[in-house]
């Protein structure tokens, strides 16, 4: 199919995603919103299959069937009380998918430095979404302790991981090769960072964290969209990223807490966190109304 026609269908899908997300936010139309949004997804997937760059379909069919069966069974089997855990797991699998899409984009010929940077972004955000979501699932389902895990040098370790991520990313961009050791280092560090970010947060705050990670997985899809120059990935990904941030904020307010408080309460900086809380609650009604 002509790329222009494919992109026109992507426009239709994007419009349906927008209507779907809007209607999901109101009780009367939520069911219709979900149907519209799933219709948009079906359109986007179906049209993509007509892309001229896709030459073989065996792998796609096998992988898609396996994924659909796992997803459907998991969605049917899960208890109503353990929904947030399930969403965390689905979110994690979306994150690792974005990581792999970015990684696979490195094998395309003629990548610019801009592409390499967006690839690294999708790997870092996707990786930390994946490991963070798995950890959030572990805490909620009580596979591991749901208490906040804090140890002395945590902040130093986190700072070290961040510095390592930046250094390895820069070194990779200077010599982008698919078998570069720095690439593997970035993947490992981003997975580690997701774990370290969720570790100091207690189980009661996990729904907020899952909502934030959901926002990240949208951003990861958006970065992957830049890496492969795909409009629908950028539009849908960044929309979910932004909507996820707002939803996270709304959930925090419903719990009478601030996002800063949730993310850093494990570090015991209560005084600082309450200061942040006051500021946010004063600003946000003006911003949201």
């Amino acid at each position: 199919m002509n790329p222009v026609i494919i992109n026109l269908w992507y426009v239709v899908a994007a419009a349906l995603f927008i209507f779907g997300l809007k209607q999901l936010g109101s009780p009367a139309t939520a069911v219709r919103g979900n149907v519209l949004s799933s219709l948009a997804m079906v359109i986007a997937i179906a049209v993509t299959l007509f892309n001229k760059e896709i030459l073989t379909f065996e792998l796609i069919v096998i992988a898609a069937v396996i994924g659909a069966v796992i997803g459907a069974i998991a969605a049917q089997k899960v208890e109503m009380t353990s929904m947030p855990e399930m969403v965390a797991l689905f979110n994690g699998s979306g994150g690792i998918a974005s990581l792999m899409v970015g990684w696979a984009a490195l094998y395309n010929v003629g990548n610019t430095t801009f592409t390499d940077v967006t690839v690294l972004l999708s790997i870092v955000i996707g990786g930390m979404t994946f490991s963070g979501s798995i950890l959030a699932w572990g805490k909620l389902s009580e596979v591991m302790t749901s208490a906040a895990v804090v140890f002395g040098a945590q902040r130093i370790v986190n700072a070290g991981i961040l510095v390592g991520l930046v250094v390895c990313s820069v070194l990779f961009c200077m010599d982008p090769a698919v078998d570069s050791p720095y690439l593997y280092a970035v993947i490992a560090l981003s997975l580690l960072f997701g774990v370290m970010a969720v570790l100091p947060i207690g189980g009661a705050d996990m729904p907020v964290v899952i909502s934030l990670l959901n926002s990240y997985s949208g951003l990861a899809a958006c970065a992957a969209g830049f890496a492969i120059n795909n409009n629908i990935l950028i539009v849908a990904g960044s929309m979910v990223g932004a909507a996820g941030i707002i939803l996270t904020n709304i959930m925090c307010k419903a719990m009478n807490r601030s996002l800063g408080h949730v993310l850093f309460s494990g570090f015991g900086a209560v005084k600082q966190a309450t200061k942040v809380e006051g500021e946010v609650s004063r600003l946000s009604p003006r911003m949201l109304s």
């Binding site: 997300l21 809007k22 999901l24 009780p27 939520a30 069911v31 919103g33 979900n34 997804m41 986007a44 993509t48 760059e53 896709i54 073989t56 379909f57 792998l59 796609i60 992988a63 898609a64 994924g67 796992i70 997803g71 899960v78 929904m83 399930m86 689905f90 699998s93 979306g94 998918a97 974005s98 792999m100 899409v101 696979a104 094998y107 395309n108 010929v109 729904p207 899952i210 959901n214 949208g218 990861a220 992957a224 969209g225 492969i228 120059n229 409009n231 629908i232 990935l233 950028i234 849908a236 990904g237 929309m239 979910v240 990223g241 932004a242 996820g244 707002i246 939803l247 709304i250 419903a254």
Partner: protein
Amino acid sequence: MEAVFLAMVLMLSIFLGFELISKVPATLHTPLMSGANAISGITIVGALISAGGESGAMSSYLGAAAVMFAMINVAGGYLVTNRMLSMFKKKDTNQPGGNS
């Protein structure tokens, strides 16, 4: 120029996302989170192109694995959201005055 155009698309979509969500009742928080999560499975589009492309075996295998994971996200996400919403709807019909 292409990058500038895409940056414009990015900026507009982010503002759109901010504006779309406002005043969500607490009962809809989890379904909305789950529904938005299903949309982030859109990365399957990129996965399909990688899996079927001719950029080498490694690229195809990575793409295929990504197709599988993204498909779990998409299929599971929409089905779970639907289940949650069907519960919610039942509750609403029991209490006709309760849908604010």
